[in-house]
């Protein structure tokens, strides 16, 4: 439960900011601007985590989503040859609209129906407990996620290796 004038004001402020930025992501015609709006959304969500006393989660949100993922998206935009065409009209717009409405139609009733457990005070969850849980009870999913990420990394490396480089490497080995 969020109590007190400060947190409540912060909640509404953050909500407005996040929603506006999310709208910006959708509306913005410039791909680069859209990503920047997306970053604001991420920061807003980190703010929500802070409001809920989940400080570690907020920091992780900033590091991972803003520091890594958003930057990677930006990088991808720069490296994509046809990025300059931006968010132009596509034939897929109606399909996307239908899909979006469908997802919203699924989510909104689910959220309204769900019985949310409300806590009167923020649970004290030190980071050490989080780590213990992660490496104790949830160690298998944790490891699986690591393996998945490693596989993705290796796959990316294999994908971007050009045949030319491979040939050069083989030549080099032969020379040795």
């Amino acid at each position: 439960m969020i109590e007190g004038a400060g947190p409540v004001a912060a909640f509404w402020g953050l909500s407005a900011l996040t929603l506006l930025a999310a709208g910006g992501v959708v509306v913005s015609r410039n791909l680069f601007h859209a990503v920047l709006f997306l970053i604001v959304v991420f920061l807003g969500i980190a703010g929500f985590f802070l409001l809920l006393s989940a400080d570690f989660l907020a920091m992780a949100q900033v590091i991972i989503y803003v520091g890594a993922i958003a930057v990677l998206i930006l990088f991808a935009i720069v490296l994509t040859p046809r990025a300059s065409r931006d968010n132009a009209e596509t034939r897929m717009a109606p399909v996307a609209l239908v899909a979006g409405v469908a997802v919203a139609g699924l989510l909104i009733p689910a959220i309204l129906d769900a019985e949310w457990r409300t806590l009167s005070s923020a649970p004290a969850l030190p980071v050490s407990d989080l780590g213990r849980e992660l490496l104790g009870v949830w160690v298998l999913p944790f490891q699986l996620a690591s393996v998945l990420l490693t596989a993705a990394l290796v796959g990316a490396v294999v994908l971007v290796r050009s045949p030319r480089e491979e040939r050069e490497e083989i030549d080099e080995e032969e020379r040795r």
């Binding site: 490296l79 040859p81 994908l159 971007v160 050009s162 045949p163 030319r164």
Partner: protein
């Protein structure tokens, strides 16, 4: 599997870029950071000195030669004067020759200071080596000011000798400089040649094989860096270079690092030559009197000196008049650039800058 590649795009290095050492431009096409094509664009500083020189007397042309390679004006003066002397058959007295050798070698020191400092700057050293070399170059320029009255464009050599005799303060000042110079070279050696990062940046970059170097008419440290022993001071001695004992440094495999250490070693050798020349400085006249409006006989002459950047040739044709009929400069840094494309393609932009720095260009000389 399709090859994933980024869009190649064209980057202009220059004409206003910190590392082009003047208004020189390289149009590079890059794919990511790799260079796939490089094209030189020059001429921003073209003053058509060769045409202007056809309208001046032989003596009036000497200041033009200052302004081609403004970092080694003494060598340029010397090359031109040698060509005219050869054309007109003028002998230079021994004292004049010795003074010329001292000045040319001091000029080589000054120019190599500049080259090494700028090269270190190109590898990314944040101004420190260039400031150190400027400090030493300053002392040499002071010596030039003492003798010729000018620091950069000295206009000191004359047809038949030099413009003035050495002032009496020159010798002690020069000896003082020579006493400290080897330790300065050792300092640079420690700062740069033995620096792991510097070696990593320059070793194996812009390799030129000896065959390539000879075929592309490279000269000076570029040629010697590739392991070719060629030095006009030894091969075709002028001004009495045959009296002095010095070695020619040659590199190992012709990369940027080799060109750098060759330059550094040349500085040591220059110090040796100046010491010998000062020790054996003959007396007598420093100049043969020649008429102001010299009219050499009909004919042509090609004289060359080993400038700091390489073979500096002057090709002068006379039709018997007071002005040269044809005046051509063989600019070393212009021809040394021939292989720039071969040196840069396949490397990164950073390598291209290092390659360009190791050529040691002076745009005034390229464009003339």
């Amino acid at each position: 599997m399709t090859e994933i590649r980024s869009e190649p795009f064209v980057v202009n290095i220059g004409p206003q870029h910190p590392s082009t050492h003047g208004v020189f431009r390289v149009k590079v096409t890059v794919d990511g950071e790799r260079i796939v094509d490089a094209e030189m664009v020059m001429g921003y500083l073209h003053r058509s000195i060769e045409k202007l020189a056809e309208e001046r007397t032989y003596t009036q042309n000497i200041p033009f030669t200052d302004r081609t390679d403004y970092l080694s004006s003494m060598s340029n003066n010397l090359g031109y004067c040698l060509a005219v002397e050869k054309l007109a058959g003028i002998e230079v007295p021994p004292r004049g020759n010795a003074i010329r050798v001292i000045m040319a070698e001091l000029q080589r020191l000054a120019s190599h200071c500049m080259a090494i400092g700028a090269f270190a700057n190109d590898t990314g050293a944040w101004q420190t080596p260039v400031m150190w070399t400027f400090r030493e170059r300053e002392k040499i320029l002071d010596l030039f000011e003492m003798t010729s009255g000018a620091r950069l464009t000295c206009n000191y050599m004359r047809i038949g000798g030099v413009a003035f005799d050495l002032p009496k303060e020159f010798e002690p000042a020069c000896r003082k400089l020579l006493a400290t110079f080897p330790s300065f070279i050792d300092e640079l050696h420690g700062l740069l040649s033995e620096n792991e990062i510097f070696i990593a940046r320059t070793r194996g970059i812009a390799v030129i094989t000896p065959e390539q170097a000879i075929n592309a008419s490279l000269s000076g440290p570029m040629l010697r860096g590739s392991g070719v022993a060629w030095d006009i001071r030894k091969a075709d001695p002028y001004c009495g270079y045959e009296q002095y004992d010095f070695d020619i440094p040659v590199g190992y495999n012709g990369d940027s690092y080799d060109r750098f250490i060759v330059r550094l070693e040349e500085m040591r050798q220059s110090v040796r030559i100046i010491e010998q020349a000062l020790d054996g400085l003959p007396g007598g006249p420093y100049r043969t009197e020649v008429p102001l409006a010299l009219r050499p006989p009909k004919g042509e002459a090609y004289a060359r000196v080993e400038g700091p950047r390489g073979e500096l040739g002057y090709y002068v044709v006379s039709d018997g008049g007071p002005a040269p009929f044809r005046f051509h400069i063989r600019p070393p840094s212009f021809i040394n650039l021939s292989l720039l494309k071969e040196m840069t393609v396949g490397g990164t932009v950073a390598d291209a800058i290092v390659a360009l720095g190791s050529v040691d260009i002076v745009v005034g000389e390229i464009d003339r």
